[in-house]
Subunit: 485 residues, 2 copies
């Protein structure tokens, strides 16, 4: 299924839709999750918590989205977090310079290139305004942070462009109060904000978006001292080498020096094990080492975890070795101590991060799970049962003869524990199809036999098989079927 | 335990702390949740989802925090969401006028009063600048929304001051795609932002805060047609009447016309049932009907759900009957249809809302759960087991003799499913005390007997009783002990 089909599913079945869509001044790059989207997202987050945060004993925090100006002086975002833009001298339209050039000529000028490089290419290739064909002005930098004014004096502060800045700033307190030991890992899920020039493709390039970031604070002299590496050494990962993709174990990637150390290899392995459980087809994934010009300004080594979709390879996670870039800078500007003791030696920790885009991950899960079942004239969202927005439909075969009441009785017992969908009306086949489309793995149907022997039909989404279950066994049956792995 | 003791607990045990605290330009009114706070908050949210969203078949959404300008033209926030402020003519300090007057004279001028009323009181009572004792200027209005500029043209948009605006704007799509029927209820958890003049008391008055809002869209002619009212008719609520608090059932409150209709009574009952399960002492709660001058500008009838703490009565939930104020206004400005069919009759729904402050609720849970146990020389956070940041401590009695390895083996089996805390070091008594203080209901200890018979000690936080359990039974034992009600 392609992007447009997923978009149709999203709009019609309450996964996501544009924010403020009833208004003419609705801004691009802002989307909302509807009921199905919220439920899928919550379950994805719970899986992330189980398979990464809890499994690896990470500390999870939830920091403010508005942060002080000093934070971004230290982080470098005030000076370096800018996109190259060019404006039309006549109609004043503004374009992102690298995208404009790529669209007009298929020449790739990296976004971090010198401004003169954009000007030269635009002039050499005679690129003009996309809208009115007039001459373009000089390229300039546009800072992508959203500024807000605090209090009546309007003191400058910013919406964070990445959640990890909260983690860096909070590191000294957390390490101390949580009795930290290196490597010490802090995770956070939350919103970040980037004033993109040209947001597009719904969840794929947003101005307000969800990140799940993991920052591993480590002693740079002990990157190969991670014992828990053995847990993932045989985990298969796929790595891009010379334009080809090679599958190998974490151990092989380490031994062949494709990955620089055990710490990095361990977390990349953990990440792939997590994505396997989301239902994303990891056979369509790859780690791609970024060239110097592609890397973010704070990264010394960077691997993107990318997954193939119908709109191309999507970067779902940026894995950056940030070295001591952040802590050194925060220490210097705040005058606070960021060094810690590791086996009685003072160390300024280095940071390795896994910066996950949640919205893109959810899109990819939908695309990899949605399929046409032509034999049965239906479309099915074959989500992992533990990620399904609705765990179980609860249906009365017909509304009359006391079946509706019996159905509501069953619903009452299950409603707080499971995500249920109570439905009395319409042909039963059509109700099953609707549940298939929203990914509900199970449907319970109450029929006349139910009134006689207190059993119900349970229908499985993927196989369409049905079996009869005692009402008294339903709770334990459902609990088992939708359990996390 | 009082506010200062809770604050100490929060700082020392990773519940919450000030944002950007390492920087001199850290702004007041921004706080972060540490690992214990995140875990408590997540579990509180899950309880809210179970007992309100799922139980009542609400639709949950997650909308953008940045919303277009038109939204707040329609909602009235651009013109009406302002605090009265006065500035010092000499030192330029700015104060919230109502608070300044209350602090200086204990006269209460409601924040929604005419500006002239503040000027008159300040002049009559000779109130001067709190800082430099100079003359104060005229009172003026300060709009509390944070403005942001979108794109290179910096088009005006705002951080939402209440989550419900997303719900109102999304109502037409949700009602249609989710096959809605009145009453139709939409819920949302998320951040809201208010540029308070004088934020204070950590989680109690924030500039960036979490709301859990529930908006019930209903037919104003059918407010007494809610059959499910019978589910809560015998639920006890406490209502403030003539300065006294009276306990009564929802049915009695309805019959004595203290509550205006079944719909309102049903949701207030549901709310109290929810708070009972949080561990807040609902015998210290009350619904207080607001006087006209106290109500928000959009409310036609308003009840605050307040709970008594050591810092006074805290408003945890505002229950507002917003009538058709919001939908009418959004319909008029957007030109979109907000009317829906109810039994084939066109209706512009009225809205009743439960607007919950999550941060304040968490504070109150902590205050009502924290106690000194002098007999046993300890402090205990007696949280409901399902809300505890750590479900179970996993401890080795000593590190040697293979006990540490056995402990880690047990930890490995439990770590993804439960919130565990693995701890090998220090006197066992001190480790229990630390778990008591962070509210862990259970501690599993591995000792020498474990190596012989594969049993462990389980210690209960509240009773301090211990019992021996087979390792193979631990999972089902824990699942039962920490299960939601």
């Amino acid at each position: 299924m392609n992007y447009d089909q997923i978009m149709q599913l999203a709009l019609e079945r309450g996964f996501y839709f544009q924010s403020c869509e009833v208004y003419a001044d609705a801004q691009a790059g802002f989307w909302e999750y509807g009921p199905s989207g919220v439920s899928l997202k919550n379950k994805f987050v719970e899986l992330w918590r189980r398979e990464l945060v809890r499994r690896d004993r990470m500390m999870e925090i939830d920091g403010s989205q508005i942060m002080s100006k000093s934070v971004f002086e230290a982080s470098g975002h005030l000076t370096s977090f800018a996109d190259p833009i060019v404006g039309c001298e006549k109609c004043k339209s503004i374009f992102r310079a690298d995208r404009l050039i790529a669209d007009a000529t298929s020449i790739v000028v990296p976004e971090s290139a010198d401004l003169s490089e954009f000007d030269r290419t635009i002039s050499e290739k005679n690129i003009v305004c996309l809208k009115c064909k007039s001459k373009l002005g000089k390229a300039r930098k546009f800072n992508m942070m959203f500024k807000v004014g605090i209090g009546p004096e309007s003191e400058p502060a910013y919406l964070r462009p990445e959640t990890c800045q909260s983690i860096f700033v909070d590191f000294p307190r957390l390490f101390k109060t949580m009795r930290g030991k290196l490597p010490f890992t802090i995770a956070q899920i939350g919103k970040s904000f980037r004033n993109e020039i040209s947001p597009r493709q719904s969840l794929l390039r947003l101005r307000e978006f969800y990140q799940a970031e993991i920052e591993v604070f480590c002693n740079p002299n002990k990157l190969d001292g991670i014992e828990k590496f053995s847990e993932v050494e045989n985990t298969e990962i796929r790595v891009m080498i010379n334009d080809g993709i090679k599958s190998m174990t974490c151990k092989q990637a380490l031994e062949s020096e494709i990955l620089p150390n055990k710490l990095v290899a361990y977390y990349l392995g953990l990440l792939v094990e997590f994505y396997q459980k989301t239902g994303i087809d990891v056979k369509k994934s790859r780690f791609r080492k970024l060239a110097d010009k592609e890397k973010a300004f704070y990264a010394s080594v960077a691997f993107d975890f990318e997954v193939e979709t119908t709109v191309g390879w999507l970067e779902l996670v940026a894995c950056n070795y940030r070295s001591d870039y952040d802590l050194k800078s925060h220490a210097s500007i705040s005058k606070e101590k960021f060094e810690v003791l590791d086996d009685d030696v003072k160390v300024l920790p280095h940071v390795f991060e896994l910066s996950m885009g949640i919205d893109r991950s959810l899109y990819t899960i939908l695309e990899h799970s949605f399929r046409e079942d032509k034999d049965n004239d239906r479309v099915v969202l074959s989500l992992k049962p533990y990620l399904a927005p609705i765990h179980v439909g609860i249906l009365s075969l017909v509304k009359k003869d006391g079946l509706a009441e019996k159905t509501e009785e069953i619903f009452s017992k299950l409603r707080t524990k499971y995500d249920t969908f109570l439905d009395h009306s319409g042909a039963i086949g059509r109700r099953y199809r609707r549940l298939d489309e929203v990914g509900a793995p199970l449907a319970v149907t109450v029929d006349h036999q139910t009134l006689q022997d207190n059993t119900v039909t349970v229908r499985m989404r993927d196989s369409m098989n049905q079996e009869r279950i005692k009402i008294s066994d339903l709770d334990s049956y459902l609990a088992k079927e939708i359990a996390y792995p």
